[in-house]
Symmetry: C2
């Protein structure tokens, strides 16, 4: 297969972790006789530094022409600390999601057997947890009108949803549930929000088309608690943009490190693959950034194009790295010298030679 | 002291747990020679059933005349499952918060030594956690304009804040931090929301007035994770209405049961005290509801009127009940016959005779 992949490394640890995912994809191409080409483009704070724009036109056009986008991370403390900044790195990420119409963000939350003891949660609590979060990604309060009064004393944001925005992701979530434990939980705040009541209404209307999927509804406050005390009750979680942002980062505590969480952002024409973690400027260029989230995002990319065997091999490589403690410091209390690159090298080696790879 | 307390029991387990708090307050009045009078009023689903209105005028007027309000819980599954219901129990709770101007909701999160092993989190993770959440309670998306298009296909909610709404609660939070570990964390989503940027700006402006308080800023998604992996880093958390709702219910996992979390809702003229848990219709009238959250809310009421010794005695009673396993099933794996009433009786006995109380 020929795939033209746009690589948006972004800021902070973005370039380092993305480099490992690219390395792994190159090894996959080599072993399976695919032709993957990679084209870099600017986004985020680094794009602002070079062009004044967090999402240059050229980046948009490279992404639109590509078969898929591999995304690193964006953000910089200098903008976080300045609420008055008019141009912000996040506009690059939100902009590309919108430009490519990536309305469905899929975030798997899997408690790896080998990492159970790394979690803040008790092992018996999280064992066998396997959740797929379907987060709506191009609507809600992320993209509603914003307002700041001239005197700077009043500010507002609008959370708006239209029926079609809910329907299209809901169908994808129901279909995903069909091939899993056939349970779908809609998380909302329907006891307060009109937009949440629309979500609840639409999901109730669609549900009869999937008679084999059991649907339930949960308020976001309650879900934030239930996710920790009874994570195994969840199969597919469907939710709007902001609640999905909060729940999925919270869910990282189940997995043991946010450095493990991958995601796929899917639209009708385009697809982008990105770790759920941020840019962590402080950790950049120190070799400590965990590349697994980016590598697992690459595996989701392979799946997306039907390259299931390839994706499975990448995941096997990841599993083996975890089992052998070839992991960055966030997960490692056995070896203290395993760098970002070393993890990438190990998984690359594994793909080239699955039966022989060991720590070298 | 003379106190006239309005009692809004509400729905589900509300009446049962509130009855225990009233019992405890009566014991306090007796032992300390105070005169507490109690006046019941309708709210929530039970008020809808009887009057068609989740917040009858009479209830508002009783609350406005009272020195304080003791609130139970509201909500009913029949409304949760009907997104089209125009009249909803939650309007009673949101209405009374607004009518009384209760803009500051204070939610203490304390890891009780005797309950450390009840948490889903590892003991070493949560030991010594002591957080005070300051949740804004009368603004934001809870009270912004709502819209539903005539064809039912578009819905929206507005999250709006004005400077004065942020200032007044921020000052209270800073003052609270001064008498604690002198750390204040503002939780927001300033990388996306205009209203969050206003919060950040105002808190930055106020901060120099409290030079002894260390201020930091955290995005809500990150905070939802940090609360679980590093809870001890927090002292006072200040946040807007919706984020406070989510974070405080999530934080219950640290304490071991949501049935332990009390809150105080304070305004310039009025004050209301309520558990953070909901109505749990399914648990109602079975004697299993944990009354501690309501009893600790009563302790916050006593504190509010400067009755510190009285409040401390109530808390001692609660501590003793936890130590002796006089607790409802959510916390008890030793005795299986401790009912809601029995917990209330035990704490009442303790107040009447602090040195001799034991399980009877
Ligand atoms: C960086 C930020 C705008 C982004 C979001 O909130 O969507 C991030 O937290 C994420 O989850 O991808
Ligand atoms: C019942 C509901 C409207 C309420 C809220 O969201 O404020 C509750 O969850 C709470 O936290 O007091």
């Amino acid at each position: 297969m020929k795939l033209n992949i746009a690589v948006l490394q972004g800021d902070g640890i973005g370039p380092e972790v993305t480099a490992q995912a690219v390395k792994v994809l190159k090894a996959v191409a080599m072993e399976f006789n695919h032709i993957f080409t990679f084209q870099k483009a600017l986004v985020g704070a680094s794009a602002i530094d070079k062009t004044g724009n967090p999402l240059p036109e050229e980046t948009i056009s490279i992404c639109k022409k590509a078969d898929a986008v591999l995304f690193g991370a964006i953000g910089d403390t200098k903008y976080d600390e300045d609420p008055d900044a008019k141009i912000r790195p996040e506009q690059g990420l939100l902009g590309i999601r919108k430009e490519l119409g990536l309305y469905t963000n899929i975030r798997p939350i899997i408690a790896y057997e080998d990492l159970l003891n790394k979690s803040s949660l008790k092992v018996k609590q999280i064992k066998d947890t396997n959740i797929l979060i379907y987060r709506e990604l191009t609507g809600g309060i992320y993209f509603g009108d914003r307002y700041l009064s001239d005197d700077g004393n009043i500010a507002s944001d609008v959370c708006k949803y239209e029926r079609f925005e809910i329907e299209r992701i809901a169908h994808l979530a129901f279909k995903a549930a069909l091939s899993r434990k056939r349970k779908l939980t809609l998380v909302d705040k329907a006891n307060v929000l009109e937009s949440s009541r629309l979500w609840r209404r639409v999901v109730k209307e669609i549900a009869p088309q999937y008679p084999n999927v059991k649907v339930n509804f949960m308020y976001i406050d309650n879900a934030a608690m239930e996710l920790i005390i009874h994570p195994r009750q969840f199969d597919v979680i469907l939710t709007e943009n902001m609640f999905g942002d909060i729940l999925s980062e919270e869910a990282s505590v189940i997995v043991g490190s946010i450095g493990l969480l991958a995601s796929a952002s899917i639209g009708d024409k385009h697809a982008m693959f990105e770790p759920i973690h941020g840019a962590y400027a402080k950790a950049a260029n120190r070799g400590v950034a965990n590349p697994i989230a980016s590598i697992l995002s690459a595996a989701m990319l392979l799946d997306h194009f039907g390259l299931y065997e390839e994706a499975a091999l990448v995941r096997e490589g990841v599993d083996k790295s975890l089992k052998l403690h070839i992991t960055t410091p966030d997960l490692n209390n056995k070896y203290d010298n395993i760098t970002t690159t070393k993890v990438g090298d190990f998984i690359e080696d594994f793909i080239q030679n699955p039966d022989e790879t060991n720590l070298n």
